[in-house]
């Protein structure tokens, strides 16, 4: 305990006088472990978190989010707004002023031509760009001079900060990628593995799905940074091994996403080598209730809007399922410090968080039983399961294979048993469940079960696209190749109208009001049952300073500021 206190003291002292006597490369080697291994350094060709975060060490966007979810200028002078004239009055263009003197790691200057090229690269025909939705509705990027880039939109954008903002949309170098447009993009192995960037590090050796070696960028804009001379970015293994290598053995400095039960983490932290940090974004572990009938006998029409669910269409049943859940206990068992209770599917940022549904925080088995009794669901045949008109309250509950999720399933099954609902559990390998393969019956989109549990969030701080997930036409169905995010197949004209209205509204307060209303509608219809508001977690060594992880951007976004606590 004393050692930890001493280290914390040292950390605090260093934090107070940062970089005063620091020198580029003075702190030796930084070792990072990601238990999912990066396979490419180009976020435009991969949607995977692991690849985006590895790339964040090398290539950077124009602006990033800070810990509070506010935009901060990164490669630009300031954040354009309507007030400072950077965003046009009609909300159809945004003007970015690049910082002067920024150089690529090969020594050439960083210009607006690179910014324009990045847009061209991602929207090129046949390129299969993974981040196209970031450049949605962009019709042109004008470059009046070397340091000005004007992004033009085809429609008014109340929130114009999607292109070139955040770790998923960094700027790439025109000179390096100009021969890699469209279908040729995946063939440019050299460029995709060793991109030239403006970030603090450059790749020296890239082994896909294994390890990346990087060294400090000689042309980085701050001559005192980064403090580390080299970085070893190791991929692979599992969450357990990664957490152990940082917290218990101290072999690595930083581990991504140690998703383990709190008692397991606490045990590792007791070794005193490192600590786990959590940051709360918008990630909510939730149960999706299927409003359509997943009966296999329906064949092609299974789980589509043509066949309503035999009993989950009854709101009383859905509400009772939600009331029976003891959310504080779930947090305690499954997430500890890395989670907290919530009754919303949109828990953050603060302005969007509704407080209208907070009654769900207390488990109410008695109330749930009463509700079901009143709705006519009684156990008429004495088998412990409620029924009505020959329909038994018997559920199939699916989720991905993960120790914490299986514990949750067991607990929830027990609670639902107390209200006379029988539950059959099923767990599916995560790569299949989240794989999205339309040929597999086990994907979370198909939802060939009555209820399913998983976590989801949205990137950035603007919930418009996220709330649009539950519009009628977002429902996964055969016509959409089973893609879509409206897993409950919720469909309400009123909700769709609010989605359309939000797309037109620019005022932040009105947007917040709309988002809250949409959230409340989903919650009070009980088509989504929120369970736990989860933080993003990572583990870092006690000797690694400067880590300021937050949920709105890549975890490695400020790797230039990381240093060794001596």
């Amino acid at each position: 305990m004393k050692l930890t206190t001493a280290l914390m003291g040292a950390a605090a002292a260093l934090a107070l006088a940062p970089a005063a006597f620091a020198e580029r490369g003075s702190d030796g080697e930084l070792k990072i472990i990601y238990w999912q291994a990066p396979s490419i350094m180009n976020p435009y060709l991969s949607g995977g978190t692991k690849d985006i975060e590895a790339a964040a060490l090398v290539i950077e966007p124009l602006a990033r989010y800070d810990a509070a979810g506010n935009l901060t200028p990164w490669l630009v002078e300031d954040i354009p707004t309507v007030e400072n004239g950077g965003v046009s009055e009609d909300l159809t263009s945004i003007t970015w002023k690049l910082k002067d003197g920024i150089k690529w790691s090969d020594g050439t200057p960083f210009t607006s031509a690179d910014v324009r090229f990045t847009w061209e690269y991602c929207t090129a025909e046949g390129g299969g760009c993974a981040q196209t939705e970031k450049y949605k509705d962009v019709v042109d990027v004008e470059t009046p001079d070397e340091l000005t880039a004007i992004v033009k939109f085809s429609t008014p954008k109340p929130f114009p900060y999607r292109p070139f903002v955040g770790g998923e949309a960094p700027v790439i170098q025109k000179a390096q990628f100009q021969d890699c447009m469209g279908p040729k993009a995946p063939e440019c192995t050299e460029a995709n593995f060793n991109p030239v960037g403006t970030g603090p590090f450059v790749v020296t050796d890239f082994r896909p799905n294994d390890v990346i070696s990087l060294k400090a960028n000689d042309n980085y804009r701050d001559p005192a940074k980064p403090a580390f001379a080299t970085v070893t970015f190791k991929g692979g293994g599992d969450a357990m091994a990664a957490a152990r290598s940082v917290l218990e053995t101290g072999e690595f400095d930083y581990a991504w996403n140690p998703q383990l039960a709190p008692d397991v983490i606490a045990e590792m932290e007791a070794a005193g080598k490192g600590q786990v940090v959590a940051a709360f974004g918008t990630l909510v572990e939730r149960i999706m209730v299927n409003l359509t009938d997943p009966n296999p006998e329906l064949g092609e029409e299974r789980a589509t809007a043509k066949h309503p669910h035999p009993f989950l269409t009854d709101k009383a049943v859905r509400q009772a399922l939600s009331m029976a859940i003891d959310r504080p206990l779930l947090v305690e068992i499954g997430y500890g410090k890395a989670g907290t209770t919530t009754c919303n599917v949109l828990p953050a940022p603060e302005v969007y968080a509704s407080s209208a549904n907070d009654s769900c925080l207390v488990q109410d088995i008695e109330g749930a039983n009463k509700l079901l009794d009143e709705a006519g669901w009684v156990d008429s045949d004495g088998d412990g399961i409620r029924d009505k008109d020959g329909v038994q309250l018997s559920l199939l509950f699916q989720t991905s294979t993960n120790a914490v999720r299986q514990d949750f399933q067991a607990l929830i099954k027990e609670w639902w048993k107390m209200i006379g609902v029988e539950t059959e559990l099923r767990n599916i390998d995560a790569s299949v469940f989240f794989g999205g393969d339309p040929g597999s019956p086990d994907t979370y989109q198909k939802l060939f079960a009555d209820v399913e549990m998983y976590a989801n969030n949205f990137d950035g701080t603007d919930p418009e696209a996220y709330m649009a997930n539950w519009a009628c036409d977002e429902a996964p169905r055969p016509e959409t190749q089973w893609q879509g995010n409206n897993m409950p197949r919720f469909c309400s004209e009123e909700y769709d109208a609010m989605v359309a209205e939000m797309a037109k509204t620019g005022d932040i307060n009105k947007r917040a009001e709309l988002a809250k209303k949409m959230n409340d509608m989903l919650m009070q219809e009980y088509v989504i049952i929120p369970l736990v508001y989860r933080g993003r977690v990572s583990a870092h060594s006690n000797t690694l300073g400067g880590v300021n992880m937050h949920p709105w951007d890549s975890e490695t976004y400020n790797a230039a500021d990381w240093y060794r606590i001596k």
Binding site: A261, T401, A410, R426, N427
Partner: protein, 334 residues
């Protein structure tokens, strides 16, 4: 070399009584010196096999009858009684959280470990035995057919090669996808998966048996007693049931025991990978899988299912070893 391995009397003599029947039943009962008595006597001298048999009987009895005496529901959650250590922990750690109500401790959700071990053992052993019988029947059938009928040999052995090349895991995933829903509908979730897993293990593990049996049948076919039997017009069915099968019994028995061990391990491996049975349905492999995260804090949670799996497999292997010795008349009596 002149005496074939047919047991007891002279098989060249096509006398009225069948040699096997004679020895096994009539003489055996009269003098209590039957072939099986001999086998048992020889078997008893094999210490490892006797220990193995004792353990297997014990574990089978424990999982079958244990839940009658220890009637805690293995899926019953009791959060207040979570993370209880086994009672013996109190010997070296007086501060440990132990309870006579849960002598083997509980898991992180308060489920009783002893009840889970017994329930898990039922499934694991049931899967093991059923899959083993399935593999045995398939393997023997195919092996004998391939060895005895020359025309079938090529095609059956190529089929064996084909099955040997099948990877179990992708196959299981595909079968899950194809048959899970119909089986679940027909037999319920647990029984449906049980049938699926047993069939998968069965159809992917009969090949070694088939090869061994075919080899032995090929060798036996050329022996004089078979020639003699054929010369008096014995039909193929008779030939196989009366002369060939009894002579390949010993390799079949041995591969059966190995198959049982193999099936238990395969089921454990599948459960360990998180495939197969629903997550609240304990099997030994699943208990192991669920406990790995907390292995350092609660070693007993991996140790006990681990011991159950490895000792069962070991004991079955020893029984196989003892049986092989006991069934071989050339070793017997030495």
């Amino acid at each position: 070399m002149t005496r074939p391995a047919a047991h007891g009397s002279d098989p060249v003599n096509p006398s009225s009584h069948d040699p096997i029947e004679t020895v096994a039943d009539t003489i055996g009962e009269a003098y209590s010196r039957s072939q099986w008595w001999d086998v048992w006597r020889q078997f008893r001298h094999h210490t490892g096999a006797m220990l193995g048999l004792t353990f297997l009987l014990f574990i089978t009895a424990a999982v079958l009858f244990g839940p009658i005496f220890w009637d805690i529901d293995p899926t019953k959650l009791d959060i207040r009684a979570k993370d209880i250590r086994p009672i013996y922990t109190a010997i070296w750690d007086s501060g440990a959280k132990v309870s006579w109500g849960h002598p083997f401790g509980t898991d992180n959700l308060g489920r009783d470990t002893m009840a889970k071990l017994m329930a898990g053992g039922r499934v694991s052993l049931a899967v093991g035995w059923t899959a083993m019988f399935l593999a045995l029947i398939l393997g023997t059938l195919i092996g004998v057919a391939a060895g005895y009928f020359k025309k079938l040999d090529g095609i059956l052995m190529r089929m064996t090669d084909l099955f040997l090349a099948l990877p179990l895991l992708p196959l299981l995933l595909v079968m899950m996808l194809l048959f899970r829903d119909p089986l679940r509908k027909a037999f319920g979730p647990e029984m449906g998966i049980f049938i699926l897993i047993v069939v998968v293990i069965g159809v992917t593990s009969w090949m070694p048996t088939a090869r061994i049996v075919r080899g032995d049948v090929l060798a036996l076919k050329e022996r004089e007693f078979v020639l003699a039997a054929r010369s008096i017009g014995t039909s193929s069915t008779m030939m196989i049931t009366r002369h060939l099968l009894p002579n390949v019994l010993s390799p079949i028995m041995v591969s059966a025991t190995l198959g049982l061990a193999n099936a238990i391990i395969t089921e454990s491996a599948l459960s360990f990978l998180g495939l197969g049975f629903p997550s609240d349905f304990p099997t030994w492999g699943k208990l192991l899988f669920d406990s790995v995260d907390r292995m350092t804090q609660f070693p007993e949670r991996v140790v006990w299912p681990g011991i159950c799996i490895s000792f069962t497999v070991l004991s079955v292997n020893y029984i196989g070893d003892g049986l092989r010795d006991a069934l071989d008349p050339r070793i017997r009596g030495r």
